[in-house]
Subunit: 110 residues, 2 copies
């Protein structure tokens, strides 16, 4: 069968995908508590520091976190703008899902 794979197109899909990985969620939740340098993020996590660096890149491309240099340390933090955009998108996403549900629930006499 010809399988032209499904792709992650829009930015929200990318964000979904970014948080789909358990390690990245762990990283994101750490940053939710406070901004941190890469070393400190890696501390406690069950993966190597380079692995963390790679995850940080994904989260950054998803606009969920941002970086700013502090001497030799690269400090990462939550990206307010990106998170806000994601939240607004999801609000609509769920609302539409629930609205559709109601539409069909009314048709059912149950």
């Amino acid at each position: 069968m010809k399988t032209e794979k499904m792709k992650n197109t829009n930015s929200h899909a990318i964000a979904f995908n970014a948080l789909g990985d358990p390690t990245r969620r762990a990283i994101f939740e750490k940053l939710r508590a406070s901004p941190l340098a890469v070393v400190d993020i890696a501390k406690g996590l069950p993966v190597s520091r380079p692995a963390v660096s790679q995850h940080l890149r994904v989260l950054k491309e998803a606009k969920l976190i941002s970086i700013h240099q502090h001497g030799a340390r690269n400090v990462y933090q939550i990206d307010q703008e990106g998170v806000l955009a994601m939240r607004n998108y999801l609000d609509k996403f769920w609302d539409e899902a629930l609205m559709a549900f109601k539409t069909f629930a009314e048709r059912t006499t149950k």
Copy 2:
């Protein structure tokens, strides 16, 4: 290095993971439009029907959709309760992230 892999623990994490896959998002959005039998869900998607069945299982375990039999047809639809729970969880999730951001933004003189 000893790598005790990270796991998807709580139900919200599972939901995140469920929607992290592009095909599953496509399926979910189809069901958002209306309840559908498996055959109809598979129709138009670039993957086989069994693949769709497997995705449906994941979405179901994430409490994002529910099934009810209709003769020989298995009709899937949005799981209102699960979606509501997910929405509430995410609202808090984002809010906490943004609150933390503000806390640390105020410390910065910029």
